[in-house]
């Protein structure tokens, strides 16, 4: 139930329930409340759960995992005689 899906903010508007956005999930567009991510900008990726954005995806942090993998691969290569 705690599933949250990343989507891209395509359009921002004021709705019946306040600060809203059209968010695209790989082409499927849904209305999402931005009430909890007031600093979100057009084009940002947000994690969405039950119609609410709960965080803005940190793209720099997202890229770090690939660096971590390369580091581990390099360590493995060093260990192999």
């Amino acid at each position: 139930m705690c599933l949250a899906v990343p989507g891209k903010i395509m359009e921002m508007q004021e709705g019946r329930f306040g600060h809203m956005a059209k968010v695209s999930f790989g082409g499927v567009v849904k209305q999402v409340s931005l009430a909890y991510v007031p600093e979100a900008k057009l084009g940002d990726y947000v994690m969405v759960h039950t119609g609410f954005a709960i965080s803005i995806v940190d793209e720099a942090e997202a890229a770090e995992v690939w660096g971590y993998l390369e580091e581990m691969a390099a360590l493995a290569a060093e260990e192999t005689p």
Binding site: M1, C2, P6, K30, S33, I54, A62, V65, A76
Partner: protein, 367 residues
């Protein structure tokens, strides 16, 4: 899909699995807390990529699974009322009560509607003022901000026909209940990434220190989970027990502060009964006094009656990580997703349903 597809990359998973294999020198038991993680692990066969010494046990992080039978009965009682439009997330509809489920109430003429967001239920209340609209607010901290906003908006709008049946639970007290049990064999935890997105992970620091277990905030895709497992095992092998964030693209140490603020405005912390675990102090959320008029239990004068669990169902032990689903004699026999005995077979995030779907002969093949 960006931030999804790349975290399912098979080559990256293999690299992580190899790194884990190089790291491990002795047996370790880890628990993934969240049912969404359990589902990913079984679906993608991640447990089978790990060295034999590493055991993953599945935690209680499935809100559908831990909602007590008494609360299910209350939902059925409300949904059957002719004046009530009962709104719920879809996964609650097939949870069996004493004699039926919400789907059966709907088939019998009850006005039961599946909603995607709690705000959809508020919109129904606004559009159909002659109906008593009740929303079934089940969930962990991840779901609490949305549900808090629905209650807050309904009150602001002055809606008098909207209420909530609240069965909210909190993760850290359940983790502590498991850790303090003498039966606990878990040596490290993967904490639930989206719960921590909302609440941050400061609450876990005293737990890691007190019980000497590493707790790693972990995401949900295969690469995320293997990264969490790697970080947790690395701590165990090095004799450390710290809280670490392996899901930094979504989780910040302090969590989402505006969301926490509204949760505190609307909800207060109360003791709550968990299916399979019993009552845990300070482990649930309930509406605060200023929102009492929106509390469905008070509004409809619902009473509490204790309901025993079906004897053949071992879901309580499964939820504590003490039994694996295939060890239950009823698994795949009298208990199947079509005819579930317990909630762990109902919810797609329940451990029993995940094993049935992906591991049981005749179940769906792994993707």
């Amino acid at each position: 899909m960006r931030f999804v597809t790349e975290y399912r990359d098979a080559a990256a998973c293999r690299k992580l699995a190899e790194a884990i294999a190089r790291l491990v020198t002795r047996p370790w038991t880890l628990m993934e807390v969240c049912g969404g993680q359990t589902h990913s692990i079984i679906k993608f066969g991640l447990d089978q990529l790990l060295p034999e010494q590493v055991t993953l046990v599945h935690g209680p992080g499935c809100p559908v699974c831990v909602t007590p039978l008494e609360m299910i009965e209350k939902s059925l009682e409300l949904a059957a009322r002719p004046d009530v439009t009962f709104c719920s997330f879809g996964d609650m509809l097939r949870v069996p009560g004493k004699s039926q489920d919400l789907l059966a109430v709907k088939a019998g003429g009850g006005d039961v509607r599946i909603v995607y967001s709690p705000l959809d239920a508020v919109a129904v209340a606004q559009e159909e003022p002659e109906r008593e609209v009740v929303f079934f607010a089940v969930g962990f901290e991840t779901t609490a901000p949305g549900n808090a906003m629905a209650v807050y908006q309904a009150k602001e709008m002055g809606l008098t026909n909207f209420s909530m049946l609240v069965s909210h639970v909190l993760v850290p007290p359940a983790v502590e209940a498991l850790l303090s049990s003498p039966d606990c064999r878990v040596q490290g935890f993967l904490a639930a990434g989206h719960v921590c997105t909302v609440m941050g992970y400061g609450e876990y620091e005293p737990l890691a220190a007190k019980y000497g277990v590493p707790i790693v905030v972990t995401g949900f895709e295969p690469v995320d989970i293997l990264q969490g497992v790697h970080a947790c095992l690395k701590q165990l092998e090095e004799g450390r027990a710290e809280v670490e964030n392996a899901y930094a693209r979504s989780v910040r140490h302090e969590g989402n502060l505006p969301a926490q603020e509204l949760i505190r405005e609307v909800f207060e912390v109360v003791p709550r009964k968990w299916r399979g675990l019993g009552e845990i102090p300070r482990s649930g959320l309930s509406l605060r006094e200023p929102y009492a008029a929106l509390d469905a239990e008070k509004r409809f004068g619902l009473t509490e009656t204790e309901i025993p669990e079906p004897e053949a169902c071992l879901s309580g032990l499964v939820l504590q990580g003490l039994k694996r689903p295939p060890e239950c004699p009823a698994f795949g026999q009298e208990c199947t997703p079509e005819h579930p005995l317990g909630a762990t077979m109902v919810s797609s995030e329940g451990a029993c349903a995940a094993y049935y779907r992906y591991r049981h002969v005749g179940g769906e093949a792994p993707v």
